[in-house]
Amino acid sequence: MADERSISIEVVYRGIFQKTLAQRICRSVVLAARKSGHTGTAFARYGDSPERNGVPAKQFAVVAADEIELEASMAKYEPAVVDISIAVDDTLAKGVESWAWYGRQPLWKPVRENGWLLVTSDKAPEAVLAQTDAAERPYTLGIIPGGASFAGLWVYKDDHTDYRVLGAIAKIAPQWMSLETAKSTALELAKGDKGAAASVQYGYDATVLRPVKKGEGTTGHEHLQFEKPGWTKMRPGIVVDARKPGERNPQYKKYTARTMRPVVNFDTCIKCTMCWLDCPDECFEVTPEGHYEVVYEACIGCGICAQVCPVKDCIVMVDELKFTDNTDKWQLWKQDRPKYNAWFEAMSGVSADPKKAVAPNAATSAGNANPAANPTTSAGGDD
């Protein structure tokens, strides 16, 4: 650690879905540190509250050698700099836009030079790095094996993500949390379930560390930052200009709330308008042919369109990390249908040919391709 007297850890997560998960991680970091004689504090970022399903949020754990060190981290909304950032959903690699005027921020933004960015993912470090903003300073990317855990709110479906994360922290910051204290903390949290300690060990052993040099990563993501005007420039009476007809909110785009995105087979679309009608984020726009295309800058990936679409596999939800941009795809379909359909098939894993009822290719369509296969809660699926 650069500063051996304290360590700051943040957990970046999907609002509501992973709130309990983030809370468990931050609390267990502090409780584990306590076992080693340290003290600490855990808190959620107040600005994220009220949390919204899918919208990126943060919680923190700060551990210090003593109370005096800890005071420097108290009565704050968030630490300006963290030693370790943990993203519990790899699609957060595309950036974090938590509310209006916040802009889209690189996932590593608060990570100090030579700090760590840990991401739970079933992908290789290179794949995650390819979707992460180009580094402004060196850090180490760690991949904690496993998919995103949408463990739920009322009913917490523990898939041991929290324990694997503890193992990973023990690996990179043993002076604050030894493997043994991580394990005993996990055992307490899991009420004696030995599998929890095994998961800590697995996280410790299987986390892959990949040093990232300055400049590594993608420069393809949108730059979205805003200046805050002062009181002489702000309109009096708490007045804000209304949106103009046809405009979208330029100061809050919300696409970083998305873990999956819909792709549309325009050849099978029957122009029924249901996707457009039922979208709570106004993200569909009509084409001259009467199809409805997704404006990816506005889509937050709820999956309602896929659910209400009456045509099988016309709208398919696909893992967000498969995409590198937010360009609308209808133009491509218009210009080159075979090319578009090849793209559709590659992304969705289902045939674009309406005549072929091809079963999804298991290799390309991971669980994510079918939204019903990725319920976020125990009660969410059509079980």
């Binding site: 909304y77 009181w231 007045v239």
Partner: protein, 410 residues
């Protein structure tokens, strides 16, 4: 209720009426061509709503008169009517004022120039009708302008001034007018009713400009903010309140020019202070028995006077300092309480002391809690306050006797 009538023909000449403070305000509502008012019964302010209802019933004015389901609704109704460009009026008293308090707070935040009267009344429990100033004083930190009338005439004059100052774009803040319950709300006095033409030239039409909530001016008002924005918004309100001092001064001199009333100073009314060594300072109608006492004390050869504070917000710090630093001692009479405050003084006492703190040549300040619950100020009480202030002026004041309850049974 909507009674569609034409406005009364403008009266050509100033007339006189025997009117209560409430009835005088109702005349001001008529003269100001108020668009929306909301009523709910509570003594003693509601005399104004009764008087206004009668004016409407008799076709003397055209106002949307809404009988609300409670004070919170009353204040919310006029707040929203104001946002679409209506000149509005509302009021309450005592615990009714407090029932409306959420709406009262947001109206200032929104910078909407609602004009309200507070017919001052003691807060429950126990239920009480008499005058205390704690109800109106509760708005003192929120961004409401706040003034206190002494007479029915001044009630009318302040009301007209309130719309002019509150609606001024440099201010754009709500205004509350304190009317002492019973003594002013319910006592009839001779009131000069100005001509419509004079009022029209004094009071411009209400224009919210680009803050008007209307489909032709699409705006969003008051989105949720976080810590990144609120200090700047509060700063705008602070600036508006600072601007109000100058705007009140302008309005005062224009009022004086048109109507020939309003005294020398927009913020203070001084009585027998020219050669005074000690003065009393207070708000509202307690000035009246105090003037009687001062005349009596003068006859006995005491150099004593009275400073009546007309505007509590914005607090006229410079005028207060200039005026009070001429005297040896000031006896501040609070018709309010502030339990547990510095020296256990009233609200006004601590404001005056604070204003004088950095003045090199400052008078001794003595505080009196008096006339609570509508108790009258009797001459022996005035004598007692005089003696205590005199004693302080001669240097025998200790911090233990900085503030006194007057006329309370042991």
């Amino acid at each position: 209720m909507a009674i569609e009538t034409k406005l009364r023909e403008s009266s050509e000449v100033e007339t006189e009426q025997l009117a209560t403070g409430c009835e005088a305000i109702a005349e001001a509502i008529r003269l100001a061509d108020v668009d929306v008012m909301a009523a709910y019964p509570i003594r003693p302010y509601d005399g104004v709503m009764q008087a206004a209802a009668k004016l409407i019933a008799n076709g003397k004015m055209d106002v949307e008169y809404i009988v609300a389901d409670g004070e919170h609704s009353q204040f919310e109704i006029v707040k929203h009517a104001c946002a679409v460009g209506s000149r509005v009026f509302v009021g309450s008293s005592g615990v009714g004022w407090f029932y409306a308090f959420e709406a009262i707070a947001v109206t200032a935040g929104l910078r909407l120039p609602v004009v309200a009267i507070c017919g001052n009344r003691a807060l429950d429990d126990p239920g009480a009708f008499g005058c205390e100033h704690n109800d109106a004083l509760a708005v003192r930190d929120l961004g409401w302008l706040l003034c206190w009338a002494e007479t029915a005439q001044e009630s009318l004059d302040f009301a007209l001034t309130a719309w002019k100052v509150g609606e001024d774009k440099r201010v754009s803040l709500p205004v509350a007018i304190g009317l002492d319950g019973a003594f002013l709300t319910h006592s009839q006095q001779i009131v000069k009713i100005p001509t419509q033409a004079a009022v029209n030239s004094f009071l411009p039409k209400f224009d919210l400009g680009d803050r008007l909530l209307h489909p032709d001016n699409p705006i969003t008002i008051a989105p949720q903010v976080d810590q990144d924005w609120l200090m700047e918004i509060r700063m705008q309100n602070d600036q508006a309140m600072r601007n109000a001092l100058g705007v009140i001064t302008e309005a005062h001199s224009e009022f004086k020019r048109l109507f020939g009333r309003g005294g020398d100073n927009p913020f203070l009314d001084e009585f027998m202070t020219d050669d005074a060594e000690i003065v009393f300072l207070g708000q509202g109608t307690l000035s009246l028995p105090m003037k009687v006492a001062i005349r009596r004390l003068r006859k006995q050869g005491h150099k004593v006077g009275l400073v009546r504070l007309k505007w509590f917000r914005p607090f006229p710090t410079a005028d207060i300092v200039k005026s009070l630093s001429r005297f040896k001692a000031v006896g501040v009479i609070d018709r309010d309480y502030s339990f547990g405050s510095p020296y256990y003084g009233g609200v006004l006492y601590n404001e005056i002391r604070s204003a004088l703190y950095s003045v090199e040549k400052r008078p001794v300040v003595v505080g009196f809690i008096a006339a609570l619950g509508g108790r009258e100020i009797e001459q022996p009480m005035a004598t007692e306050m005089f003696e205590k202030t005199m004693a302080a002026a001669s240097g025998s004041l200790t911090s233990g006797d900085a503030c006194h309850w007057i006329g309370v049974r042991k």
